[in-house]
Symmetry: C2
Subunit: 149 residues, 2 copies
């Protein structure tokens, strides 16, 4: 880790989250696992990260309970990486990053990939902020309420 100041005990959930998956490679690893890559060598080839770094990141993600090592699905004696429920919970983080990237980081006419319903091919809708009652909300109409303490 480069940031020597750990955010582990921070009051802010965003800071805590970034302390776990806010480094250079973790979210890309997790994206690849969501995309079906499981084995060390697959991840190494896909990401191009140095093996030492990849190894350290995977170990940390396992320690943090985001990934777990399970027996390889091809029946060999090797292991592969799988998302825990905690790791699966990161899907919307990936989706929000994807949607932002599609909106602001592509030339207007540049071809781009898109997330679709695997069964019907129907595109996934843009994520939307709503109140618990389902009323749409903009960011400038929100505020963070601190615990009563």
């Amino acid at each position: 880790m480069v940031r020597r100041t750990s955010l582990e005990g921070a009051r802010c959930p965003v800071a805590r989250a970034l302390d776990v998956i806010g480094d250079w490679w973790s979210l890309l690893i997790i994206r690849d696992v969501f995309d079906g890559l499981r084995r060390f060598s697959e991840l190494h080839e896909s990401l191009g990260a140095a093996r030492g770094i990849l190894s350290a990141r995977l170990r940390r993600l396992v320690e943090q309970g985001v990934l777990e090592l399970v027996p390889a699905s091809d029946g060999s004696a090797y292991k592969e990486y799988a998302l825990t429920p905690k790791g699966q919970g990161l899907f919307l983080v990936i989706v929000s990053l994807r949607q932002w990237g599609e909106d602001f980081l592509y030339a207007p006419d540049e071809p781009r990939s898109g997330l679709v319903d695997a069964k019907t091919g129907e595109p996934v809708a843009r994520l939307k902020l709503r109140t618990k009652n389902g009323r749409p909300l903009d960011w400038d109409n929100t505020l963070v309420k601190m615990p009563a303490e």
Copy 2:
């Protein structure tokens, strides 16, 4: 930057997004700006980042069009940082990180902050994945469709 391999031209929007805001400090800076902090000294105090690092990150975020320098709102000759539309687009990324952090990074009885409607105090709902038609969807029923090329 630590990652020497730039992801700028990557085909994947997640990779492009992380190339812009995937470093150690950028998302925390943006979170603070969403929370109303604007001035260099406010951000420095809130984040505890070294001044040199904070300065470099802010400059990069301005270059990337995520933040912009505007005249300070107190009428002084100083400037302050504000979110551009591109920066405002990151709100759902912050919200998804916040919700994940609240779900998985807090002890069950630990007090936590929450995002609410500023006008009514009504809590913000969990983000939910849906198809364009509004049908709820789980992560394991999605796939990434590549452009026709």
